[in-house]
Amino acid sequence: MSSSIESLVNKEYQYGFVTDVESDTIAPGLTEDTVRLISSKKDEPEWLLEWRLKAFRRWQAMTEPHWSNLKYEPIDYQAQRYYSAPKSITPLQSLDQVDPELLRAYDKLGISLSEQKHLAGVAVDAIFDSVSVGTTMKAELSKYGVVFCSFTEAVHNHPELIKKYLGSVVPYSDNFFAALNSAVFSDGSFCYVPKGVRCPIELSTYFRINAANTGQFERTLIVADEGAYVSYLEGCTAPKRDTHQLHAAVVELVALDNATVKYSTVQNWYAGDKDGVGGIYNFVTKRGKAHTNSKISWTQVETGSAITWKYPSVILQGDNSTGEFYSVAVVNNMQQADTGTKMIHIGKNTKSTIISKGISAGKGQNSYRGRVKMLPKASGSRNYTQCDSMLIGNQCGAHTFPYIEVANNSSTTEHEASTSKIGEDQIFYCKQRGLSAEHAISLIVSGFCREVFKELPMEFALEAQQLLGITLEGSVG
């Protein structure tokens, strides 16, 4: 490894700063009282508290799953803090009232919340620890009848929608981490696009963990009514800390008949240092339910987190529905990722596409885990899966665990996987054409990930490419 590249390995995590705000943080520990306390802090209606408590009791009866290809120290759920909010935030405030310190934090992250700067046409909901700081472009969106606000706000203003769809895709009993989230979820984003409306701008949520020893448990619910279209982006960062922080989110997508939901994520939680100290433990349940003729598309670029456990899935319930999963997962240093998707084909003539690109560098371990299931009645269905791995260096690992389950004979599934390395000769070729080693790697890697990046909205695609460059800097020499 050349010394110039080596110096880049130790490059600071750009988003590792801490914002100094006074926080209202609850004591560590998780009991029924914690759940009641969170609910009361959010001034929630009785039915939601009941739902949380049911989830909590269910969670207590469950055990943490260990089937994944991940190795980590046991998590002490009683040592975590389950709620932390900047004191300056009062629920349901408008953006003008937001503490300037918080706005500066978002400016520093490159996300400006001041409305006038949003010429790019993106509405942002900014979540800071357990609460939403504010949502931009609300007025513009309400002209179209699009509801886009924090989850807490939605519980108060649109209880009928929340009651109808909360837990309809990921029930609280779904899995250990989903149950935990259902019990203690703090905030998140809610979006509803009415019938026949094409949401004119991109919606996005920016998640920021700031407080120490605090987990983030956000919950996002997106409903596209019949014939609607929405594209949603999600970004995440956290400060550098030398303890692991827990992040257990749930995302539910509902695409009613003829609707389209496109969900893109650039996940850049703090990944820990090169010895694996610190970093976020990311245990996320993401799932969409696709009704007749609808389409749900997941695109993810996973570069951060010490541990990633994440399987954005689609239940293809309606006939002719489509599910897509495009993923780039990068692990460097001591990072571990176990990610993939589930495509459950229930309706007739349903289609799914899975493109997964895994890049392993340093001592990183990257696993693709996917399930394609064609039920007996899903006649005429189709799946195409491609999962490619790239290894950089000889101390990392790449693993694939695909499950293909087909129970009818009119469906077709195809699965391909390959593993290759980024070669000295490829880099040499680029270098003799006048590119630096870093540029060469960046070029080869972006070529490898091209199929996924082209699915991202433009601004995100650029950000994702730069992010990849940073994550992998110094991994070849």
Partner: protein, 441 residues
Amino acid sequence: MSSSTEAYEQAFGALRASGGTGWLPALRREAMDRFSALGFPTTRNEDWHFTSVTPIAEKVFKIAPTRTGPATLSPADITALVIGDPDWHRLVFVNGRFEASLSAFAGLPAEVRVTTLAEALKESPEFVAEHLGKLASGEGQTFTAFNTAFAQDGVVIHVPGGEVVEAPVHIVHIADSHAAGVGIHPRLLVVVEPLAQITIVESYACAGPMSGGYLTNAVAEIEIGNGARVDHYKIQRESTDAFHVGTTQVRQGRDSMYHSFSYAAGAAISRTNVYTQLAGENAEARLNGLYLIDGAQHADHQTFVEHLAPACASRELYKGILDGGSHGVFNGKVYVDPIAQKTDGKQTNHALLLSDHARIDTKPQLEIFADDVKCTHGATVGRLDEGALFYMKSRGLGAENARALLTYAFAAEVLETIEVDALREGLEALAFARFTQSELR
């Protein structure tokens, strides 16, 4: 401990009562303890996720009886029951017991030793002690431990360095009407020293009408020395109400070659495990298989290729044709150790569903810890290609014939990898007859 393992514990006590002391009773005792402790796998066990062995676990299979009367089968009957050449070196077992009168393997080179396990234990116990249960230790493997505890007989093959055995050694296992309710645990131990070569054919078949199922639980251990080559064919055509579990555990030295072919068409539930360790540089493994199932049959194949040394190659092609309400499972795992640079691994698995009620679960797995490797896997599931059918119809073939021909062609691709002519031709004829209801000319 479940009631069936308790019953097996008693049966073990009775069978091995006069076992005495020494390495063999100790090995068996250890295996019995392991079997009892593990119990039969459930579908919660990841390796058995898609295969329920409940029908096997809830029965207690008896120890195979020794034949009392005269042999009911003649050598000609055996030839009719199996595919292959009657001139090959042949060892025949009926219900797990060796039948000398049906066997003929005298023409082997003098240095090459092919004997029954019982004979080998008398003649060269040190050799058996050195190798038996070493590769297939039964660790975490219920059925392997079950076999080690109850194996009555089997075959031991030892090919010294540089010896080339021309004609295949054919090991025939026949279950006849006395096999109902019986558990048969054949054991095969093969040690091939450097630069030697041998072809082994294992055939499992049943004779006559069956009045109830039986269990065949076979274990093979194959050690392949540097530069040596083993071709191993396993032809499983058990009775359709029998259960078959077969585990082959191989370890390969430098520059060696292991070629395995598995054909599975019989049994109500069958499970075929082929595990090979590429332990020396530049070794090669070729694992191929074909399964043809129908009705309520369940066929599960699991392969595990461990690349433990640099520059090894593995090639895998498994195909399945599923009709009726049958259920196929394929789980192929390729592991590449950090030191196994320059690995070249390829795995392919295709399933053809002829019926809308057939079901297939496949899980091709890669676990790669080295960077300078080329590994791919591909899996497809589907029915016959409409385009190909149309093409054939446009050439004047009827729909039925077109289907039959394409189905046969699907199977033929993997049958073509068989290098033993008599075997390939026999299986091709069988497949052709099955799909076209006519004879191959």
